[in-house]
Point group: C2
Chain length 159, copies 2
């Protein structure tokens, strides 16, 4: 799988689509897109040239951003599916926020190649999901991550 066709972020309501990591309306952001591949979730992203730690290697904060939005996107995919929907259905999906983020940097991550985040999702509570992610570069697992994602509180958008 080289491309995500139907991404959950494509279906977020406009008000929720400004995220620097995954908002389709944030033109300066990374515009990460997350979809299903059977029962796993996938986000594919090639960091820009400036997203380096030292020349040749990707900056860890950009990888953390990938793990973060892949996590909230995966949780949204899972709850949406539990509710009987798939991306592309034209039904607005739930929107999650990150309660915690953990990233283990296993190997230096080479620049100039697509990074593929693969997620495994577990429901902890109807509004709280755990997403365990492996990030691959050239089919080598370079990073493992975990996100605890919770349904976005209503107070968040009322501001």
């Amino acid at each position: 799988m080289d491309k995500v066709i139907h991404a959950i972020q494509d279906d977020y309501a406009d008000d929720y689509s400004w995220c620097y990591g995954c908002g389709r309306l944030n033109k300066q952001g990374l515009q990460l897109r997350t979809g299903w591949n059977r029962d796993k979730t996938v986000t594919i992203y090639t960091p820009h040239e400036e997203h380096k730690a030292i020349p040749g290697f990707v900056y860890g904060g950009v990888i953390a951003s990938l793990v973060d939005c892949h996590g909230t996107g995966s949780a949204a995919l899972a709850l949406h599916r539990k509710n009987g929907h798939e991306p592309g259905d034209e039904v607005e999906p739930p929107r999650f926020v990150t309660a915690s983020l953990h990233v283990d940097y296993l190997k230096p991550t080479p620049q100039g190649v697509p990074l593929k985040a693969i997620g495994t999702i577990e429901e902890i509570h109807p509004k709280k999901w755990k997403v365990v992610t492996e990030v691959f570069a050239n089919d080598i697992c370079v990073v493992k991550g975990e996100v605890i994602a919770v349904v976005m509180p209503k107070s968040f958008i009322q501001q």
Copy 2:
């Protein structure tokens, strides 16, 4: 303390100063700067308008980047001090990389105000340091983080 005067990143060798988070030579990056305040470390950063999660609140990936570079910078400050040096000494400091990053998002982080990361450092091993960070917005702790930083392996720069 509202401004870091002597930052460790000011003294990194040029080859190590391209980091998207904290490299002074990466003009498209965040250019985070980390210094001492007595025995704590401090990084102060005001995210840009585009660095939002939803309008009004900062994107978690940018906060993770702040915790990340604040962690490696703090570890570099600590080992540099252990070696008898302070930023501004014109002695090249050690350079660390992140082995693991953990971020707990305690509260939504408001946009448009400086975020202050305060670090507490512990030596685990001469080449491996733990940095526990609290991030404050308007003097309220919004995020807690932890970085395990290790001295950059020589293989990293030889590529």
